[in-house]
Every structure is written in structure tokens, then in C-alpha cells.
Symmetry: C2
């Protein structure tokens, strides 16, 4: 019955994701999730050995969805700039949607200090960097831009875009849920930086 077990694991992840996204990881107890599913706590622990495994599985699912959409964007886009602009919008959507998980920022809500989470985060960032590096290389082949050391350039670009977001969001008054205005300002500035950055790689 390995199929049924997998199916149930998915069901658990569905519910856990809803709770995590709405209340945050720390405000969601294993009991909450078990009750949502109308099962007992030991049943839940039968499928996930501990809470952190569940959290990681949920995070992996989110990142998988992200990368699926990111790869699609890169494939369908005609130019590097178009791809990066859509990537910026995708990032905004995900950041907003899963803000309560506080993934990717300073451990304000949860103990992201856990090894497994940190490893996943780093691995995810590296994977995204590789995709952006490939995108830059495609742009170079197409003659849209010029650069050697595309790996460093891609990393610099990603650090700049992410940092720009941190900087702009940081100016806002700290709230439980940041204002929508803030997200829009980040988006606008990230796109503006992207345009100048790409222009800087044209000669």
C-alpha cells in the first residue's frame, strides 16, 4: 500500500501548508494539523517522524512549484529582460503568498536555524542561481548581452535583486503582514535595476 501512503502524505501536506501559510509555522501545532485531518497525533507521526520533516516537506513542495513556474517562464520568454521581469513578478507572488512562513529572511518567527532548513534554503538559492546563469548565457549566445564569468554575474544580479527587496521592505514599519504598497515598490525597483543591469551588460 505504498501508493495510499504517498497519497495520505500529500493530504497531510495540503493541510499543513494551509495552516503554515496562514498562522506561521510556530503558531501551528502538530495537534492542529491532526485535528484538521480528523486523525490522531500518532497517525500524523506515522507519516512524518517529526515536525521539522513536515516543515521541510512543505517547503520543498513550495519550492518545486516555484521552480516549475520559473523554468516555464525562462523557456517561453523571448528575451532575457522579459524573463527576468516575469521572474521578479513570480518571486513577488510567492513571497507574498508564503510570507507567514518567513522563509528566506531572518529567523523572526521560526527557528530556521535548523540545519535541514538552512541546507534546503542554500540548495534552493544555488539552484535558482544556476537557472539565472543559464538564462544569462542564453542571452549572450543570442547576442542580447555580453559578459564573461556568467556565474559571478548571475550571483551578483541575484544578490542585488534580493538585497534590494530586503532594503526596501526594511524601511517599512514592521508589521505582522507588510503593506501591499511595499511589495509593489520592491517590484518596481527590482525591474528598474534589472533594466539598468542588463543595459550595463550590452557593450
Amino acid at each position: 500500500m505504498i501508493e495510499a501512503a504517498d497519497k495520505k502524505r500529500e493530504l497531510i501536506l495540503d493541510k499543513a501548508l494551509l495552516r503554515f501559510a496562514h498562522f506561521g509555522i510556530n503558531k501551528t501545532t502538530m495537534n492542529d494539523i491532526a485535528e484538521d485531518l480528523a486523525i490522531s497525533k500518532p497517525s500524523l507521526y506515522y507519516y512524518f517522524p517529526d515536525k521539522i520533516s513536515l516543515v521541510i516537506a512543505v517547503a520543498e513542495r513550495i519550492f518545486n512549484e516555484f521552480f516549475t513556474r520559473l523554468e516555464h517562464i525562462i523557456l517561453k520568454s523571448a528575451t532575457v529582460q522579459e524573463a527576468l521581469n516575469e521572474t521578479i513578478e513570480l518571486r513577488k507572488i510567492f513571497f507574498k503568498k508564503y510570507f507567514m512562513l518567513h522563509i528566506g529572511d531572518t529567523p523572526s518567527d521560526m527557528n530556521l536555524n535548523h540545519e535541514g532548513i538552512k541546507a534546503l534554503m542554500q540548495q534552493t538559492r544555488e539552484k535558482e542561481n544556476v537557472l539565472i546563469k543559464d538564462l544569462f548565457e542564453t542571452g549572450i549566445k543570442r547576442g542580447e548581452l555580453k559578459a564573461n564569468e556568467s556565474k559571478q554575474i548571475a550571483e551578483l544580479y541575484m544578490d542585488s535583486i534580493i538585497g534590494l527587496g530586503m532594503c526596501v521592505m526594511g524601511k517599512q514599519e514592521k508589521q505582522l503582514m507588510p503593506e501591499s504598497k511595499g511589495f509593489e515598490e520592491v517590484l518596481t525597483k527590482q525591474k528598474a535595476l534589472t533594466e539598468i543591469f542588463l543595459n550595463g551588460l550590452k557593450n
Copy 2:
């Protein structure tokens, strides 16, 4: 005896700055400072009505020194790129030197939530943005680069540079005093971004 009082205020600021820079603001008590100066606590309070006034006065002194040097850099530099590169180095020096004051980042050590500090920080950031804006405009006049909306461009540049620093430093393991390696990586990346950014403003 208004002169002597000012002189004494300066003496107090000297000692306070040393303590703040070495132990941080929260680990420095008004008693510590009074003892350093071999005066009583009420004497200290005679010159500064409360601790936050003292902190703000110290911060203002630091920023004044920073702006003096920044203005000098801008005046003597032949090109925008040269000026920005030296500005980046200046920022590194100050950030490293006064790291323990935790000025400009998330209130990890001190209660920077205080209104006066926040106002000073914002005012300082705005002043720096104006200087950079003027620098860009000089560059435009000289024909080094092209851009309309120099104010927005300057703000975007500053946010990007500062954010890049936050992003790169954030990857490091959190320590009391971050590694020197981290500062160097920030410096290198900020200079690289500056080069591409300016290049992106050339056409």
C-alpha cells in the same frame, strides 16, 4: 562659561564613543561613562538630559565625520565611478569601525526604535542620497552618463548597494563581530555592481 561647557560635552562624547564602539550601546551604562571621566553621574546628566540624547549626539558626530569625508571624495574625484568606488570603501571603513553600534540595521542589540534615532537615520540616508544624486548629475553634465530622473536613479543605486551588503552579510554565520572576509566580499560585489550600473547608464 559657555565655551567650557561645550568643551566638556565634547570630552564626554569622546569617551562615550569609545565605549559604544567597543561594547555596544546597551552594554555601556551611564555609570561606566561617568567613571571613565572621573565625574559623578549627576554631572553627566547635567550635560546630557538622558542616555538617548548622548547616543544621538555620538551618532551625529559619526555621521558628520562621514559626510565630511564623503564630500571630500566627491570633490576630488575625476569620474563618477572613481567617486562611487571610494564611497564604497568609506562606507566599509565606517561600517566596520562602528559595527558595535548597530546603526543602520535591524535592532539586534539596541532599541533603535526610538523616534529620535529613527529620524536621524532617515535624515542621514536622505542627505547621502542627495549627495549621490548631485554626483550623478555632475556625471551627466560631464557626459560620463545619461539619465533623467537622477533622484530616482540615485535612490535606486543606494538601495541596491545597501541591500547588496545586507544580502551578502546575511549569508554569513551570525557572530558577535562578523568576519573580515564578509566585509571584503561586500566591497568587491558593491564595486562590481557599481561598474555594471554605471555602464547601464552610458547610452
